[in-house]
């Protein structure tokens, strides 16, 4: 029963979604819209699971003084501290806004900006022309990289057009192939789930 009930629910709702999209009556009843409202509601409850897990894991880290426990303490203080402030003065309140704009936003931007450093380091240490294919990949990458930035056109007139053609034609063609294949994979996965053949999401990796 522990597995049969979730499988039944999955199949019923999978078929309901198919009915809501393909059939006129399904669209008239607005089935997709209704189920999406349910998802919105259940998303709200999901946050509680996250808070419980974080509290349990990091609470134990602090309690047992595990290695690096001060980081766990920072996380708990930050999580409950911000929650308390936001509950007291709403998320749009001055302190919550100040914390968000002054701390969260720059940290998020800094994380994204790290990509520049990591790509630079990887360019030097990882990107090797070990094979003919890797050499072709590298040449194409350099043409596109410099061509899409203003410097390409400064170095050689018409470079930008070559890079743009590369993006529009061969890259698009390859990506379409991958996308079509992936979409078929999506479809096969959906079909396996609706038919109850795929059970990996219920634990273990076995099938029907």
């Amino acid at each position: 029963m522990r597995k049969e009930l979730p499988l039944l629910i999955t199949t019923v709702f999978g078929l309901l979604m198919v009915f809501g999209r393909w059939f006129w009556l399904g669209q008239l009843w607005g089935i997709e819209s209704i189920t999406d409202q349910w998802i919105i509601i259940s998303n709200g409850f999901a946050v509680a699971i996250g808070v419980v897990n974080l509290t349990q894991l990091h609470g134990r880290n602090v309690q047992r003084r595990r290695e690096h426990w001060p980081y766990s303490l920072v996380l708990i203080v930050a999580m409950y501290g911000y929650m308390a402030i936001a509950l007291y003065e709403t998320v749009e309140g001055p302190t919550a806004t100040w914390l968000y704009d002054g701390l969260f936003t720059p940290i998020g931007s800094a994380m994204f900006a790290l990509i520049a450093f990591y790509i630079t380091s990887a360019a030097y240490r990882v990107f090797r022309v070990r094979t003919r294919e890797a050499t072709v990949l590298m040449i194409c990458a350099v043409i596109t990289m410099l061509g899409m930035a203003p410097i390409g056109e400064v170095l050689i007139s018409g470079w930008h057009s070559v890079a743009e053609w590369g993006m529009d034609v061969p890259v698009s063609a390859a990506f379409r192939g991958i996308t079509i294949g992936a979409r078929l994979g999506f479809m096969a996965t959906a079909m396996r789930i609706i038919l109850g053949l795929e059970r990996a999401h219920l634990g273990g990796y076995g099938a029907s």
Binding site: T105, S109, A149, D168, S172
Partner: protein, 285 residues
């Protein structure tokens, strides 16, 4: 112990030295811009024309900030430039966010633009509204398209103010071609433009475009080729071109020299890394 050769030392260089060189390099170019010429690409022109066409029809432009603070550097200036362009040409704008932090991203962009005295005449509620974020991601977009914008956003905007006092929000009953002229999604991940393709463009026929971070541009091209995206504003480079087209060079234009010379720096590192690798391999043989 055998002494290391020059190339062996080069290949074993501490990555922190590379980080430091990059930091110094970027800082120097930032402080001393060389002003490389910026050529306008076809994609940027198409995007520019979207707003120009809305100016002729007077239809609403719907913007979705589907990104967080991490992508502000690339996508924030795009929203600011689009708002300036729309306000200059009298195009009403409605903003929303599929991402939780997106509502604030849109609000920041709007505040930055409205600080300019040039836009003192812009009335919040009449010329622009920020609906903000509602939990549900794709579901919110679907409900806005098939049901009712007012109900989907529970009758309040990003700051919790009632939509009843905002004529623009009340007139725009749905995210549908009957009420909206064009939708633009500013995308840095998922959910992003494809949600609008599935739930808005395909079922209702509403035309849409995306402003997208540079590394995701190739993936978006597929949708443009299929006729689902009208325009793509590609990364900071596309935004810089757009800023020039609206005659308001801003943050994105400032970054172009850094991007260009950064690319040259990365190319040099790739060459140097490969030469070093070949030399050490040769020596080993």
């Amino acid at each position: 112990m055998e002494e290391q050769t020059f190339w062996q030392k080069m290949m074993a260089i501490d990555r922190r030295i590379i980080y430091a060189i990059l930091f110094v390099f970027v800082a120097i170019v930032m402080l001393n811009p060389i002003g490389l010429p910026i050529e306008i690409s076809r994609d940027t022109e198409i995007y520019y024309n979207v707003v120009e066409e809305l100016a002729e029809t007077g239809e609403v432009l719907w913007l979705d900030a589907a990104f967080g603070p991490g992508s502000w550097g690339e996508l924030g200036p795009m929203i600011e430039a689009t708002l300036r362009h729309a306000f200059d040409r009298g195009v009403p704008v409605i903003g929303m966010a599929m991402w939780e932090q997106g509502g604030r991203m849109f609000a920041t962009a709007l505040n930055n633009v409205l600080e300019d005295p040039q836009y003192d005449h812009i009335e919040y509620g009449e010329d622009v509204v920020n609906l903000g974020f509602r939990p549900g991601g794709a579901g919110v977009v679907l409900r806005s398209a098939t049901d009712d914008v007012y109900e989907t956003f529970r009758g309040v905007d990003h700051d919790g103010n009632p939509l009843d006092d905002m004529p623009l929000a009340m007139q725009t009953e749905r995210l549908h071609p009957d009420y909206v002229g064009h939708a633009v999604v500013y995308e840095s991940g998922s959910p992003g433009g494809p949600v609008y393709v599935d739930y808005v463009h395909e079922p209702t026929g509403l035309e849409m475009s995306v402003g997208i971070i540079a590394m995701s541009v190739p993936g978006a091209k597929v949708y443009q080729d299929a006729g689902q995206y009208v325009g793509i504003l590609p990364g900071a480079t596309g935004c810089a071109q757009y800023e020039l087209l609206i005659d308001h060079p801003g943050y994105a234009v400032m970054t172009q020299d850094v991007i260009s010379l950064g690319m040259v720096f990365v190319t040099l590192l790739i060459i140097l890394g490969n030469v070093g690798w070949l030399m050490t391999r040769q020596q080993a043989q």
